[in-house]
Structure formats: C-alpha cells, structure tokens
C-alpha cells in the first residue's frame, strides 16, 4: 500500500511543475510559474493529507486561497493533467472550465490541448468562448428545437475548412 501510494505521488509531483509551467509560460515570464506537492506525514502518507502549492509567474504567494479565480482554474487544470499522466484515461470531458479565464489564459489552455490531444488522449470540451473552441478538430453544435421541445445536435469537422 505504501509503495503503490508513493509510486503515484512521486510520479505526479515530478510532473506537476512542468505541466504548470506549460500552462503559465508567457512572453513576460518565459519560465512560467512553479507548482509542487507536499506530504503532511512522510511515514503514513495515505492517512494524512497532500498539500498542493502553485505560484503564478512573478508572484510570491504560495497559499492557494490567495490566488484569484483565473489563477485557481489554471492551477486546477495543471493538477488534473499531471494526475492524468500517471493514470491515463482515454478521454477528458471538461464543462466550461474556461469561465473564469482571460483571453491570454484561454489561448494557453487551447494550445496545451491542441499539443497534447491524440488518439489515446481525447478532449471533449464544452465552451462558450470562441478563443477555445475555434482551435478544435470538430464541433458539436447543440440547439433547442422549440416545436418538439427537444435538444438537437449538428456536427462539423473544422479540419475541412481553411483556418
């Protein structure tokens, strides 16, 4: 039990920093921010907590609670993607995770998804922001058919259109 747990923990905590950097690199801060995990109890880690720290680029606070809405969203996505790299599921479904993000962060998240999506890592993303969905391979448009009082769908492959 201890070994299994530590194998997962070690793998993810080496991955979390590079994933967070991928999501926070920008012109003003080419290195990105930094993120790490700490164990509250080294002896029996499965019985105590794991603390997650993330520090946006050029900031000094490590306390998660002081981060802004958008900064927390980016930190959360980094954690999810780092965990995924240890235990890969074939697809992700994300429902309006971009709600608190400004345009710069939307671009970084979109670029990350374009770079990492593939035959064994499929992203299904619900979004209202064109900065994100215009980068996808395909769109599923949903509308309400009033007379029948039903949701209807329409699929479009964006790769057939010039970008």
């Amino acid at each position: 039990r201890y070994n299994l747990f530590m194998e997962a923990f070690d793998f993810i905590s080496t991955k979390i920093d590079s994933t967070y950097k991928d999501l926070t690199k920008a012109e003003a801060s080419p290195l990105g921010g930094s993120a790490y995990l700490t164990l509250e109890d080294e002896e029996e880690p499965y019985n105590s907590g794991i603390k997650y720290h993330a520090m946006p680029p050029l900031k000094r606070f490590r306390d998660m609670e002081l981060l802004s809405g958008g900064e927390k969203t980016v930190a959360a996505l980094a954690l999810l993607f780092a965990i995924h790299s240890f235990q890969p599921s074939p697809f992700f479904v994300l429902d309006e995770v971009d709600a608190a993000l400004d345009n710069a962060n939307i671009q970084r998240v979109a670029n990350y998804i374009v770079k990492h999506s593939g035959p064994n890592f499929q992203f299904i993303v619900i979004s209202l922001k064109n900065g994100l969905f215009e980068k996808s391979d395909a769109l599923v448009g949903i509308y309400r058919e009033q007379v029948k009082n039903s949701s209807k769908t329409l699929s479009i492959d964006l790769r057939e259109y010039p970008r």
């Binding site: 999810l80 240890f86 235990q87 074939p90 697809f91 429902d95 374009v114 391979d137 009082n149």
Partner: protein
C-alpha cells in the same frame, strides 16, 4: 482508445433518439446557447460510464428520462395526486412522456475493434447494463471500463460545470483519497 459516437434515447432534454458522431477528431468542442443541452450531453457521457445520478443534478434515475410539455392544466407538475399520476402513466405511448431511456457509447479500442456500452433506465426506474447488446452486471461493466483506463470511482477525467476551481483548493485529505483511488 477513443469515444467515436454516442446515442441518446429520451435522455434529459433529448427527445426520441439522437445520434452524435465525433468523427476522427481528438479535440472536440460542444457549443450552443444557454439551456440548449450541452451539460445534459456531458451527463449522458457520465451516465453511460456508470456515474451515480446524484452527480447528474437529479435525485432519482427517473428524472433523467425526457419529460416533454406536460400540460400544466391537465397534470399540475407538482401534483402528487394518485389519479393524476396514474393518468400520466396510462399515456404510455405519449412521446412527451416516455417511460424508459438509454445512452449508448461507441468506443474504439483500436483499429476495427469497437465496443458498444449501453446503460438503460428501465420502467421500474433501475439501471440495466449491456456491452455489445449483451446484458451484464454492473460490476462486470465497470471492470471492462477499468481495463480501458476509465476509473469511475476516481472520476478524475470528468470536470462538471462550476467545479474546476475547487479542484485546486480541495482539502489535503481529498487529494490523498484521490491519490489512493488511482494508485
């Protein structure tokens, strides 16, 4: 593997049968106006993978079945009056009031190897699981999914609307629990 398509039958706001193909894309976006049915589509994906209905904004499975324009005057929506309930039941074939629903996911394991997962809500309001048209038990269903790397208990690959920020600020105990489930 990847998800190549979905079929929704009388599930939430989808009346009748709706088939959705994801094509060969690996980055798929679902778009549409407020209230059109986007989150209901995610609920369909979560439902077919075996997620409990309490995570799908409903208290019981029957709430996930399509309910059309219930004529308010005929059966007041909140009426617990037995007579009204029986009258609704009798309208058996009324497309506005189906009594069962299902979601099927077409999953591609590799080239020319695809599997159909189907979860049905029965008339009695219970779940029925099928893999390639064959009835299986809930635990067998989740074992086959597990082999594909789809861990329903961990749910680390599904982020429901409004939940993303709290993933970063979840308590250290919750993070440990998640780590335990995936290790």
């Amino acid at each position: 593997g990847r998800l190549v398509g979905l079929e929704l039958h009388n599930f939430k706001s989808y009346r009748g049968t709706a088939s959705i193909g994801f094509g060969s894309g690996n980055f798929i976006s679902i778009i549409g106006p407020n209230g059109s049915g986007k989150s209901n589509m995610m609920d369909a994906i979560s439902f077919v993978l075996g997620i409990r209905s309490s995570h799908l904004r409903s208290s019981k499975l029957k709430d996930l079945i399509y309910r059309g324009r219930i004529d308010d005057e005929k059966y007041p929506a909140d009426s617990s009056d037995l007579e009204d309930q029986l009258a609704i039941e009798d309208d058996e074939d009324d497309p506005n009031n189906p009594r069962t629903a299902y979601v099927e996911a077409i999953y591609e394991r590799g080239k020319d190897d695809s599997v159909r997962f189907r979860r049905t809500i029965t008339v009695q309001g219970t779940s029925e699981y099928k893999i390639n048209e064959e009835l299986v038990s809930a635990s067998e269903y989740s074992n086959v999914l597990k082999k594909e790397g789809i861990l329903i208990k961990a749910r680390n690959f599904l982020v429901f609307q409004g939940d993303v920020e709290q993933i970063a600020s979840q308590s250290p105990q919750d993070l440990t629990k998640l780590m335990e489930t995936i290790s």
